[in-house]
Amino acid sequence: MRRAATLAVLAAAIAFPLVATPLGWEFYVGFASRIMIYALAASSLNLVLGYGGMLSFGHAAFVGAGAYTAGILLTEGVPSAWIGWPAAVLVAAVLAVVIGAISLRTRGVYFIMITLAFAQMMYYVAVGMKTYGGEEGLRLASRPVIGLGLDLKDDVTFYYVVLAILAAALYGLHRLARARFGRVVEAIRENETRMEAIGFPTYRYKLVCFAIGGAVAGLAGALLAGHNSYVNPNLLYWTQSGTLMIMVILGGVGHLYGGLLGAVALLLLEEVFSVYTIHWQLGVGAILLAIVLFAPKGLAGLAAKHG
């Protein structure tokens, strides 16, 4: 049942731009790309938060690090995505290892706060980079170049590239969750002391999980920079980490499609409400509250109950 649904959604996603262009919905192709990029970022947080049980409130720092890496390389004359995107992943991964190594020595609310603090530090670093736009952000000359006969400036092409990356990432998450590593990480979330008592060095596994989440977030950041042709310190502000968290919680913490569902739901909600009123945040807030009160396991939980 789940496999059929997955294939159906994938087919629909592949078909979407082909349908949209003749209908004059080109804008929505770009919008869909944006949703998928946030789905990637939210899924990377889902690994850390949902599967790993680590309430990281600073995940936006890794998205931002990836975005700025890709953006700076582009500005400095390296337009190739084959360099820019892996570099973004690498920088974000290294940052995640450093931040994780220190933060994971703390517990509970202190862990939340220290990840938040590190993210804010990165925000101010971004603001302080006057050569790369500072507070105003950095406008990028163009989208990155990927070769292979594909032109990323075309929204439809960019859409398919993002779709391929998202699909690969979700498949990777699927495999990881069922592999030894996924089992360990979930068990640590359930009962860390017991895991130590049966011989697992839990700190190590949490750090690796944190780093993988950060690395994938960096990739999402690079894609975001490419999509908008713009990077901005606001990407790293703590409310962005909050938004990512909301997506994961909304979609279903620890479910494979939690990040995807949450990103789709939140961004669609914003878009729908914006059509009717400029006060769309009110509607989104009200819906979120309703979910808290009536659907505590998020959208994936709802689907599981009825599916």
Binding site: A179, E190, E196, G199
Partner: protein
């Protein structure tokens, strides 16, 4: 004389102004069951915490199989062959009973930094887990979620988790806690079956179980060992009877 699998020398721990463990020394012989008894608050669980590595001692040495493990971290001691069960049940409630034990097997069979190959494909791992479950008598409950097990069965799972680590010394912290007579019988039989294949340091309040199972008994009162020896000696020791056993427990 059997060799000692565990030797504790002058172990001490204080919390603020309270001395919980005050210079405790004892040895556990290979293949035997050594019981540690004493009134509540005597320091028994604190000793278990220090032996397993959850707490760092303020003083003293812990020598396991001839090797000083006093500073070795919690999870590394398990790899060396020293594992514990918990007084307050600490299992993975949302996992099945089989998956619980499989985790312990997984910890010692290769690296878990494996991100691609499905765990379910490792049939050997789950077979080993099944064997452990049979050994503790939970074979029929393998696919039940651990959280819905009866209390007694959860205590059996506690022991199973420690067993599955292939430890050579088990630290069992009140395995019979909260058990009724029938469940206790099963647990006594279980622990009795372990004799000879590995060594056990057993902390217990259930005197019936202690005297039926133990080869040697140490009595802990106020953080100190007041007597150590064969069950018959302990039973007839005047100081022990006064401090702990009371006059009701006779031969």
């Amino acid at each position: 004389m059997a060799d000692a699998v565990l030797a504790i020398d002058g172990l001490a721990k204080r919390f603020g102004g309270v001395v919980a463990v005050d210079g405790v020394s004892l040895t556990v012989e290979r293949g035997g069951i050594h019981a540690l008894i004493g009134p509540n608050g005597a320091g028994k669980t604190t000793i278990i915490h220090q032996l397993s590595g959850a707490l760092a001692p303020d003083a003293g040495r812990i020598v396991f199989e001839g090797r000083d493990v006093t500073r070795v971290p919690f999870h590394d001691r398990v790899a060396l062959g020293l594992a514990r069960s918990f007084q307050i049940t600490s299992i993975f409630r949302t996992f099945t009973v089989l998956d619980n034990v499989a985790l312990a097997v997984q910890a010692r069979t290769g690296s878990s930094l494996s991100f691609w190959r499905p765990l379910a494909a490792e049939t050997a791992l789950f077979e080993e887990a099944h064997t452990v479950l049979e050994r503790v008598g939970l074979g029929g409950r393998a696919n039940v979620a651990a959280g819905v097990l009866a209390h007694g069965e959860q205590r059996q799972l506690e022991v199973a988790l420690a067993l599955a680590t292939n430890a050579r010394l088990l630290l069992l912290d009140e395995p019979m806690a909260g058990m009724g007579p029938e469940e206790s019988e099963r647990m006594i039989a279980l622990i009795g079956r372990l004799k000879g294949t590995l060594s056990v340091l057993l902390v217990e309040h259930d005197m019936d179980a202690v005297f039926r199972l133990a080869d040697r008994i140490s009595v802990l009162v106020n953080g100190r060992v007041i007597a150590s020896g064969a069950p018959a000696e302990i039973r007839s020791n005047e100081e022990v009877r006064r401090a702990y056993l009371g006059e009701e427990v006779l031969a």
